[in-house]
């Protein structure tokens, strides 16, 4: 009886020490899952998920405080990828976030812009150029289409222009199959 207790306690002590050592020796800084989730998120930094950008949302998902279906720009495809990564069920886009829209770019009507710099401060990726009292302009290649510049603009001179399909970004479509299940 006593030997049994001693043996079990000994094993527990050794294993505990090993685990403790491993926890210190192989410690990973930060949560690696957060980085993986962040890689999947579209980095629009739009905040439509209710968090202040993609990384905070990734942290919330990793901690189990947010669902995976709160990112409208990522759409269903990204929800699937997140579900795959985290080993959870796919679920459709949450009802309390906005409907996904086609990817768009912000365009400033330069004749109306008064140079107030409010949009520059709002842009999460520094994609708007300009200075106080100077006309502002959007760097099209850097704009993520997050729409965060729209509300601050006092003269409503910013429009979202959907990205059109052209010869450069056209892709072959998924073939239609008339014999699929109805």
């Amino acid at each position: 009886m006593l030997t049994g207790i001693i043996i079990v306690a000994g094993i527990a002590a050794v294993l505990g020490a090993l685990l403790g050592y491993a926890a210190i020796r192989f410690r990973v800084e930060g949560n690696p899952v957060v980085a993986e989730i962040d890689k999947i998120l579209p980095q629009t930094q739009c905040g439509q998920c209710g968090f202040a950008g993609c990384h905070p949302y990734a942290e919330a998902i990793a901690e189990g405080q947010a669902d995976i279906n709160r990112c409208p720009p990522g759409g269903e495809r990204n929800i699937r990828r997140l579900a795959d990564l985290l080993g959870v069920e796919f679920k459709p886009l949450s009802d309390d976030v906005a409907e996904p829209k086609p990817r768009s770019l912000a365009v400033i009507d330069e004749s109306l812009c008064i140079g107030c710099t409010l949009c520059i401060q709002a842009c999460p990726v520094d994609a708007i150029l300009g200075a106080s009292k100077q006309m502002h302009t959007v760097i099209a290649s850097e704009c993520t289409g997050c729409e965060l510049c729209l509300p601050p603009c006092p003269v409503d001179c910013i429009r979202m222009v959907p990205i059109k399909e052209d010869l450069g970004n056209w892709r072959w479509k998924y073939p239609a199959n008339p014999l699929r299940a109805a």
Binding site: L179, R180, A181, A182
Partner: protein, 345 residues
């Protein structure tokens, strides 16, 4: 879709398979009586009906899929691997099980992991071993040959003509006979002098095997099947049988019985060659057929069932995806197999 295409279709392939089975059916009729036609009809009707019902339940268009002929192939293979005097409900149950469970519950045409006909066969032989091992005696060997009407009556549960016992009209298959008598301690050579063994591997059975070979070679010429599976399967069974026979002729029958008897030839040319449930790579086909040949021999000789083709097929079906994964051929411009992928575009 390209604007031009070869004259090929799924239904054409399936009907070619059916056509290749016709010589075997003819031999069957000659040796065991026309009741096989009743079995083929029963199985076909059951298969088409259950296929239609399943397609409807799964909301697929019924007509194009009924016309593809795949259900008929399953039905014919079941009918041909069953005893000709199997009761009608057995044939129907096995066929319905094959179509409903083994085919449609796995996703329908092209998605089944197992060969549906062999699933049907396995279900029948496990559940109803007695009915499945009572083969009608070849007409030439039967004590009292049954007429067509009497055979049909028996299949539909009408019983036998007065004064006839079941033993008078049925015989165990050669492989089964061999197994039973070996268990009684008799020598293989003596057992095989019994009339049921015919010239090589069973009265009637050996001609049937020949008919399957003829049909199979035609299928190969028609490019419906490749040589890999039949050649490798037959070779494996032959080599194993010959090797054990050479080591101990009293205990093990020689290659001729194993090749001409049982389901070896229908298995080699018609069952194991089912494209859906077998590997597609050439090397994979060789491994698959070799494994099936090995298992067939093992089950026949040491297993509890008279023949091993069905279980060997099902076991190798399980292994097919894995075999395929590890036998990917080399892709143009790559060093090793096709699974290396390469960098991003």
């Amino acid at each position: 879709m390209t604007l031009v295409a070869e004259q090929a279709s799924v239904s054409r392939i399936m009907f070619q398979v059916l056509a290749a089975l016709v010589p075997a059916v003819a031999v069957y009729v000659w040796y065991f009586g026309p009741v096989i036609l009743v079995q083929l009809g029963l199985a076909s009707a059951a298969a088409l009906l259950s296929e239609a019902v399943m397609l409807r339940l799964r909301s697929y268009p019924v007509e194009p899929f009924l016309r593809d002929g795949s259900a008929l192939v399953t039905a014919w293979l079941i009918a041909l691997s069953f005893p000709p005097l199997a009761p009608w409900w057995l044939t129907v149950t096995a066929t319905v099980f094959a179509i409903v469970v083994a085919k449609h519950l796995y996703g329908g045409l092209g998605n089944n992991l197992f060969n549906p006909a062999m699933v049907g066969y396995a279900v029948a032989i496990i559940s109803f071993p007695l009915q499945m091992t009572r083969w009608s005696a070849p007409t030439a060997l039967a004590a009292v040959p049954l007429g067509f009407a009497e055979q049909v009556a028996y299949v539909f549960g009408g019983g036998l003509p007065a004064g006839l016992g079941l033993d008078a009209v049925t015989l165990a298959t050669p492989l089964d006979t061999l197994k039973t008598h070996l268990a009684l301690g008799e020598a293989a050579g003596d057992i095989m002098k019994m009339p049921v063994f015919g010239f090589l591997g069973g009265e009637g059975g050996e001609i049937l095997a020949l008919a399957y070979i003829v049909g199979g070679i035609w299928l190969w010429r028609q490019r419906v099947i490749t040589w890999h599976v039949p050649v490798m399967f037959i070779a494996t069974v032959a080599v194993l049988a010959a090797a054990f026979h050479a080591a101990n002729p009293a205990q093990y029958a020689g290659a001729p019985l194993h090749l001409a008897g049982g389901a070896t030839m229908i298995g080699a040319f018609f069952i194991l060659t089912d494209p859906v449930s077998s590997p597609t790579t050439p090397r994979g086909k060789l491994i698959y057929a070799g494994g099936a040949g090995f298992l067939t021999y093992v089950i026949r000789v040491w297993g509890g069932y008279p023949d091993g083709v069905a279980f060997a097929t099902l076991l190798m079906n399980l292994a097919a995806p894995m075999i395929e994964l590890h036998t990917q051929p080399r892709v143009y411009g790559q060093r090793d197999s096709g699974r290396s992928g390469g960098g991003k575009p």
